[in-house]
C-alpha cells in the first residue's frame, strides 16, 4: 500500500513537471504535427481500403511513438541527477524500485495521453469509410505496449546517464539496436537467427497489431521487455548508492 502510494506520488509530481514546463508540450505538438503530416501524406495517398489506411496509420505512428518515448523518458532520472534532487528521493522512505516505477509510469502515462490525441485521425476515416473497432483497439494496444517498452528503454538510459542529452543518445542507440536485430536474424545462423528475430522490437511483434491482430506472444514480449529494462534501471539506481 505504501509502495503504491509512493509510486503514485512520484509519478504525479513528474507528470505535473512535464505539463508544467515547455518540454512536454513541445514533444506533444511535434508528435501530433508529424503524425498529421504522415497521415495526410502517406495514409491517405491514393485510393485505399479503410483497413489499409488504418494499418498505415499505425505503422508510422509506431515510429513517432518510439521517438517520443525516448524524448519523454530521457529526463526522468538524469534530470534529477543534474538538478541535484536525487538525494531527496534517496533519503526518503522510498525504495529504489518505487522511484523507477514512479518515473516510468509518469513517462508512460504522458505517452498514452499523447497517443490518444492522435485518435482523431483514424476517426476521420469513418467519414468516408468503415473501420473495425477491433482493428482500432488492437492498433492502439500495440502502440501502448510498444510505447511501454520504449519508455522503459529511455528510463534505463536515463538511470545510466549523468545528463539528459547523454540519456537521449544512449536511449536512442539502444532503441536502434533493438530495432535492427531483425536484420541480424537474416544473416545469422540458427539458433541465433530465431533469437535475434524474437528480440526485434518492431518487425515480428508490432506488425500483427497494425493489422488488428493480437497475439499473446507479442503482448508478453513487450511486457517482458518493459519488466527487464525497469529491473535493470532499478539495479542501476541501487548501484548509484555505492558511488
Amino acid at each position: 500500500m505504501t509502495a503504491a502510494r509512493n509510486v503514485v506520488l512520484i509519478a504525479r509530481r513528474e507528470l505535473l513537471a512535464m505539463v508544467g514546463t515547455m518540454t512536454g508540450w513541445v514533444i506533444l505538438a511535434a508528435v501530433l504535427a508529424v503524425d498529421g503530416l504522415l497521415f495526410n501524406g502517406f495514409a491517405l495517398e491514393g485510393i485505399r481500403r479503410s483497413a489499409d489506411v488504418l494499418t498505415r496509420f499505425f505503422y508510422f505512428s509506431s515510429g513517432t511513438t518510439m521517438v517520443a518515448a525516448i524524448f519523454i523518458s530521457m529526463r526522468l532520472l538524469a534530470e534529477e541527477r543534474q538538478a541535484g534532487t536525487l538525494p531527496l528521493l534517496y533519503a526518503s522512505p522510498v525504495q529504489d524500485v518505487e522511484i523507477v516505477l514512479g518515473k516510468f509510469f509518469a513517462g508512460f502515462l504522458f505517452l498514452c495521453g499523447l497517443t490518444l490525441l492522435t485518435a482523431y485521425m483514424p476517426l476521420l476515416i469513418l467519414v468516408h469509410g468503415k473501420v473495425s473497432a477491433g482493428h482500432l483497439a488492437a492498433g492502439y494496444l500495440g502502440l501502448f505496449l510498444l510505447g511501454s517498452a520504449c519508455v522503459a528503454v529511455g528510463t534505463f538510459a536515463s538511470a545510466l546517464a549523468r545528463t539528459q542529452i547523454v540519456a537521449g543518445i544512449v536511449g536512442g542507440a539502444l532503441l536502434v539496436a533493438l530495432l535492427v536485430t531483425w536484420q541480424l536474424s537474416r544473416v545469422a545462423e540458427p539458433p541465433f537467427a530465431g533469437l535475434f528475430a524474437a528480440l526485434a522490437l518492431h518487425n515480428l511483434h508490432f506488425v500483427p497489431f497494425e493489422s488488428g491482430v493480437i497475439h499473446l506472444r507479442d503482448v508478453a514480449y513487450y511486457l517482458l521487455m518493459t519488466w527487464v529494462l525497469l529491473f535493470a534501471a532499478t539495479r542501476v539506481v541501487e548501484a548509484r548508492r555505492w558511488r
Partner: protein, 310 residues
C-alpha cells in the same frame, strides 16, 4: 542515539573517510567541522542512507541505516549541500510533496506544511515558484523540507552556505530552537558559525576524526589557542611588561599605538582576562578595552583542521 562505528568510504582507490567512530545522544546539537573535502558531506550522506559505506556501520536507536527500513528514514530529515528543489513547483506544493513522500497522510500534510512555513518564516513565499526564489530563500526551503515531516533527527549539510549575515543569524536562531526537540548534526567549515549553536564539535580532517568535544575542551587540548586584545593609556613598554607578568600569558605583541593609547595582543586563554585587567591596573595604566581576540576561533579551527594560519 546515533552510533557510528568504523565508517569508511572509498571512491575508487581514494578514501573519502576512514574509520570514523562517534556517538551522538538524543537531543544533542553537534557541529561537524572540517575544511572543504574533509569528508563531511560523504559522512552525512551515509548517515542519511543516500550513500552506502565501504565498511562500518551507522546505527540509529539500534537500527542499521544501511538496511534503512521506512520507519527509520521517516525519523530523519536531511538537507544536502545543495537544497534539492524542483524549480517548477511552488514552495507549498514542494513541501507537501516532501511531507507525503515521508509518510505524512494527505489529510495532515496541509497542517504540516503550514507549521513548517511558520517556523522557517516562509508563509509569504507559499505560492512562489522555487525557481524564482533567492539563494537565501532556497536554503530556507531546504531546511523546511528537512523538517516538514517532523523528524527527530536532523542532518544539515552546510545550512548557512551562501547566506548573508542577516540570514545566517536567522539560521542560527532556527538551529537553536531545534535544540530541545531534535538531535541535530550540522556540518560547516566555519567554526565561529557552529560554535555558537552546537553543544559539541566533531572535527574531521582528511577523512579522519581528529578531535571531538566542546569548544572549550578543544581549546584546552590544544594548549589554549586564544588571544586577548588589550587597549591601555600609558607606556607601551610598561603595558607589555605588565602582561608578560601574568601567569599563563605566552606571548605579547604591541599591535599599534602612541604614547596615549596602545593596543596589545596577548596569546592567552580568555579565562585570563580578569588577571590581565588586574595586572594592567596594578602597573598604574588606564585600561580602555579588554576583548577576546577575533582570530581566536579561526586559529583554533585552523589548528584542528590542518589549515594554514596566516
Amino acid at each position: 542515539m546515533i552510533q557510528v562505528d568504523g565508517l569508511t568510504k572509498y571512491y575508487g582507490a581514494r578514501a573519502a573517510i576512514r574509520d570514523l567512530s562517534f556517538r551522538i545522544s538524543s537531543g544533542e546539537v553537534v557541529g561537524f567541522l572540517g575544511l572543504n573535502g574533509a569528508g563531511k558531506t560523504t559522512t552525512l550522506k551515509i548517515l542519511a542512507a543516500v550513500l552506502l559505506p565501504s565498511s562500518g556501520t551507522v546505527r540509529i536507536d539500534g537500527m542499521d541505516v544501511a538496511q534503512a527500513p521506512r520507519s527509520l528514514k521517516q525519523r530523519i530529515g536531511y538537507l544536502p549541500e545543495e537544497a534539492p528543489l524542483y524549480d517548477e513547483m511552488t514552495v507549498g506544493e514542494y513541501l507537501r510533496f516532501v511531507a507525503e513522500l515521508h509518510g505524512v497522510s494527505a489529510a495532515r500534510a496541509s497542517a504540516a506544511v503550514e507549521a513548517v512555513e511558520e517556523r522557517t518564516d516562509l508563509r509569504s513565499a507559499h505560492a512562489e515558484l522555487l525557481g524564482s526564489l533567492s539563494h537565501g530563500y532556497r536554503q530556507r526551503v531546504g531546511v523546511a523540507q528537512a523538517l516538514v515531516h517532523g523528524p527527530s533527527i536532523l542532518l544539515l549539510d552546510e545550512p548557512s552556505k551562501g547566506l548573508d549575515p542577516a540570514q545566517i543569524i536567522e539560521m542560527r536562531t532556527l538551529l537553536r530552537s531545534l535544540r530541545t526537540t531534535h538531535t541535530v548534526l550540522v556540518s560547516s567549515h566555519i567554526l565561529p558559525e557552529i560554535a555558537q549553536t552546537c553543544d559539541r564539535l566533531l572535527v574531521i580532517r582528511d577523512g579522519e576524526l581528529v578531535a571531538q568535544g566542546t569548544e572549550h575542551e578543544l581549546e584546552q587540548r590544544l594548549g589554549g589557542s586564544g588571544s586577548v586584545v588589550v587597549e591601555v593609556r600609558g607606556s607601551a613598554a610598561a603595558a607589555e611588561s605588565a602582561l608578560r607578568g601574568v601567569e599563563g600569558v605566552r606571548c605579547v605583541t604591541v599591535v599599534s599605538g602612541d604614547e596615549d593609547r596602545v593596543e596589545l595582543r596577548a596569546d592567552a586563554p580568555e579565562a585570563l582576562r580578569p588577571a590581565i585587567a588586574r595586572a594592567v591596573l596594578a602597573a598604574g595604566l588606564d585600561l580602555l578595552r579588554l576583548d577576546v581576540g577575533q582570530d581566536r576561533l579561526e586559529s583554533l579551527f585552523l589548528r584542528l583542521t590542518g589549515g594554514t594560519e596566516a
